[in-house]
């Protein structure tokens, strides 16, 4: 008994690893990212300490003198630098001329220092000029330090006497990477746009789910159930087409149908209506098409599940009911629906979760428009974290939005299980006890 249990664990190990890698880890990483202010500018892999004029703007109000002092670029021709130039293995005359003519000079910018170097009688190549000027760089401006210690020691070499607190303030102001924060969640909670996006999501899921993924799917299954097998298969096959057509092409077909120059406009033009973009004309139009586009895709899955579940109902029950004089409606009401509880639970659960996370059809059709009216949560998370014109990808905020989606998904799953009384559905048949 014990060895079989160990064997079981070994057998399940690959699946467990897969689950951890591809299911659990993304959620854990999303949770971790959501607690950061990670963006394009902060990078993903972590930051450095860079004393850049822009990062010192905030520091200027707190300690103006120090900020001014450390943001001063300086190139000083000193002995240490000259020694370093000698070590570069360049033409010997270069260091000699620098020492003879320029010792003690200080240049405000690197370009000034390099102009002087280029004027030497043995004019070095651009590459060598860069190397030489670097040896005289006595400022920390725009230098990237990998650690605080390096930053502090550079500040010390500059001769700046800073207290530990001041050093920490400088470090905080000049850190370029991301930091831990809960700001993303307070931003989500307070932003009026997020409330709107959440409402859009609820509307989207509710409409597509009830009208198509469950409602219309059930209707299709019942219709085809009462059809002769041949036409029923053809009918089901046709309804599968939107599911098996590549999404980009499928949505493009809808766009051709609904654009200003599309089929509907041409057709309505025959009746004297001016052409218009039916897809994006108003928020209502956009919603109408978003629901239809997604509904037509989603209905097929429910149809298949329900149809096969109906096939599993013993035929004898239908024969018996017909002998008893039951109508079609009564068959649906008393035979089909009660036995469809499990498939309906499954489809509802599965489709709710998939609708919550799905946005590609909306992205392709309306991109959330017009005016953000069809922007759903998953699409907003995508726009925030991975795609925008300004190129400012807000990974942290996007992850926080994704995490909210995960929490909603899990909560809804639990709720469905409770409502549909999952415990009873999977209870062991008494006969086996």
């Amino acid at each position: 008994m014990k060895s079989s249990r160990t064997l079981g664990l070994v057998m399940i190990a690959p699946a467990a690893i897969m689950i951890v890698l591809f299911f659990l880890l993304p959620v854990v990483l999303t949770a971790v990212f959501s607690m950061t202010n990670m963006t394009t500018a902060t990078g993903i892999s972590g930051g450095v300490y860079q004393i850049a004029p822009n990062s010192l703007i905030t520091l200027k109000s707190a300690m103006p003198d120090i900020a001014a002092e450390i943001s001063e670029p300086r190139y000083a021709i000193d002995e240490a630098g000259l020694k370093a130039v000698e070590g570069l293995g360049l033409a010997p005359g270069i260091a000699g001329e620098l020492r003879a003519k320029h010792t003690g000079e200080v240049f405000a910018t690197r370009r000034d220092a390099e102009r002087m170097i280029k004027d030497l009688s043995e004019r070095p190549s651009t590459r060598d000029v860069k190397q030489i000027s670097e040896q005289f760089n006595r400022s920390v401006v725009n230098t990237r330090f990998d650690s605080k210690e390096q930053l502090f020691s550079a500040l010390d070499t500059l001769g700046l006497k800073l207290t530990p607190e001041q050093k920490e303030t400088v470090a905080t102001a000049t850190y370029t990477g991301w930091t831990w924060t809960t700001d993303n969640f307070s931003r989500l909670a307070t932003s009026p746009d997020m409330a709107r996006v959440l409402l859009n999501t609820v509307l989207y899921v509710a409409l597509v789910l009830t009208l198509f993924n469950v409602g219309y799917a059930l209707l299709l299954a019942i219709w085809t159930h009462y059809m002769p097998p041949g036409p029923a298969s053809i009918f089901r096959g046709i309804w599968l087409l939107p599911r098996i057509t590549p999404v980009v092409i499928y949505v493009l077909l809808w766009k051709w149908l609904a654009w200003d120059s599309g089929f509907i406009s041409i057709l309505m033009g025959k009746f004297g209506y001016p052409p218009k973009n039916y897809l994006l004309d108003t928020a209502y139009h956009a919603w109408f098409f978003v629901v239809l586009i997604n509904g037509f895709i989603g209905a097929s899955m429910g149809m298949l599940v329900f149809s096969s579940a109906m096939k599993a109902i013993p035929k004898s029950q239908f024969y018996a009911s017909e002998v008893d004089g039951a109508s079609r409606w009564q068959q649906i009401r008393y035979i089909i629906l009660p036995q469809m509880r499990w498939p309906i639970l499954f489809v509802t659960c599965y489709q709710t979760l998939s609708l919550l996370a799905s946005f590609n059809e909306i992205l392709l059709a309306t991109n959330g428009g017009p005016g953000n009216s069809t922007e759903v949560w998953a699409l907003a998370a995508y726009h925030t974290a991975l795609r925008n014109y300004a190129g400012n990808l807000e990974y942290g905020l996007g992850a926080a939005m994704a995490l909210v989606l995960v929490v909603i998904g899990v909560t809804l799953s639990l709720l469905y299980l409770r409502v549909f009384n999952y415990g009873t559905l999977v209870a062991k048949p008494l006969i086996e006890d």
Partner: protein, 448 residues
């Protein structure tokens, strides 16, 4: 008899060995270059690097080095895809050597360490880099360091369909004087909406086609904010001018309300928009100087100057006539072998030479990057580049290089769209933008 072939092959082997040792500096380098927002007219963003590679190989040969440069080119037509791909590739340490992107990316990308300053590799004091317009070089700088070399310049004018302007009462002389009148602030945004309305009322254009702006997010919308007196940045801090933003949002809301712009204009298919402005379906629209190339080359607008007149973006209340230049820049990415980056920098330098850059300017109807380029006959003989350079470039502003500008931009755009479509009132949109900016950027933005 069998000794001869053996001897022969030995001789050949020796010759091969000798030839390889003669080229002790043989070096094969692959330089990859990616360019965003690149359509069929903009191929020289990438091809110029290829031309430069040939030149550099010849230079190396003269010095006895056998340098072979293979240039791998990749162009993206959309900006969103490009920026996503580049950012993620750079984070994964697989970025190309050279990137052609908008100057506004310099701030966030340099902060994140994705790009390195080009001034570490090139001599800005020598030709052709010393001839680049100083303001363009400023735009390519951040924190006092030159990060990129301007690849092109452009500006974003307002276009008017001449025949319709004549039909609503403008004489030829009036039209010739229009650019000056806009520049002097005599012809304003208010006049523009009135003229658009007149065109519709006269049945010259369909409802919603009087004023036909850009259909998607883009730098163009900051011009309107400037027109209405807005400032984007001051002393290194971003600025959100509530009154100016209100007037900007209100302008588009009014355009929709009066029916000269469509409520559903944003998000319409780009191809449709191009076709419509090229065929005179729209009365007045804004766009970029490069639109000329597309209208003439791809959209079949033969007599551009006979049909279209272009001006600065007119002044609105509280602001001034302006235009925006959004130079693309050549950037060097981090994480490569220093020698490869050095070669990449040299290629960028050569590609910036007036004649090579003029190929891009003329083909794509962008503007030149240096005074010398405007003296190249090939460039100055082109009516569009000449007129656009003279009329627009002196009045061009640019977006700030600030690592938080993208956040500001997203919030500004989201609320502009919402007030445009009537999703929010103008006041609500401005106040939502304000509160989101406060909660997101805190003291990094001045709100006034």
């Amino acid at each position: 008899m069998t000794i001869l072939p053996t001897l022969k092959s030995l001789t050949i082997a020796a010759a091969i060995l000798a030839s390889t040792s003669a080229f002790a500096f043989a070096k094969d380098v692959t330089i990859s270059v990616w360019a965003g927002g690149t359509g069929p007219n903009d191929v020289y963003r990438l091809d110029a690097i290829e031309i430069a590679a040939q030149q550099l190989q010849r230079q190396a040969a003269l010095k006895g080095e056998d340098l072979k440069i293979t240039v791998e080119k990749k162009s993206y037509s959309a900006w969103e895809d490009f920026k996503q791909a580049l950012t993620l590739a750079a984070e994964a340490k697989t970025a190309p050597n050279i990137v052609v992107s908008g100057h506004e990316d310099i701030a966030p990308w340099s902060q994140a360490g994705l790009i390195v300053p080009i001034e570490d590799y090139v001599d800005l004091d020598s030709w052709p880099l010393n001839g680049i317009y100083e303001n363009l070089l400023q735009i390519a700088s951040y924190n006092g360091t030159v990060y990129g070399i301007p690849q092109d310049a452009e500006s974003r004018p307002m276009f008017f369909w001449k025949p319709y302007m004549k039909a609503i009462g403008y004489s030829d002389a009036d039209l010739d004087a229009l650019p000056q009148s806009v520049q002097d602030g005599k012809y304003t945004m208010k006049n523009l909406l009135e003229d658009a309305k007149k065109m519709q009322d006269k049945g010259l254009v369909q409802p919603g086609y009087g004023f036909y702006p850009r259909t998607s997010n883009g730098p163009d919308y900051w011009q309107f904010y400037t027109s209405f007196g807005g400032t984007m940045e001051e002393g290194g801090k971003l600025v959100f001018d509530k009154a100016a933003m209100t007037r900007t949002y209100q302008f588009f809301a009014d355009a929709v309300k009066s029916g000269v712009t469509k409520k559903n204009h944003i998000g319409m298919p780009g191809d449709q928009w191009w076709k419509e402005v090229a065929t005179g379906k729209a009365g007045i629209w804004d766009g970029g100087t490069w639109h000329y190339a597309r209208l003439v080359n791809q959209e079949g607008l033969k007599d551009f100057f006979g049909n279209v007149i272009f001006t600065l973006i007119p002044a609105g209340e509280g602001g001034k006539a302006n235009t925006l230049t959004h130079p693309l820049v050549y950037l060097l990415t981090a994480g490569h072998d220093k020698e490869d980056t050095d070669i990449a920098a040299q290629l960028i330098t050569i590609a910036s030479e007036p004649r090579i850059n003029a190929l891009h300017a003329v083909k794509s109807a962008h503007l030149g990057i240096s005074e010398a380029e405007s003296q190249v006959d090939f460039y100055s003989a082109d009516r569009w580049t000449r007129e656009a350079t003279e009329r627009l470039l002196p009045h061009a502003n640019a977006m700030p290089n600030n690592s938080d500008f993208g956040t500001y931009w997203n919030i500004m755009w989201k609320n502009l769209q919402a007030s445009w479509t009537g999703d929010k009132t103008v006041d609500a949109a401005v106040s939502d933008a304000e509160s989101e900016l406060k909660s997101t950027l805190g003291d990094k933005i001045v709100i006034r």
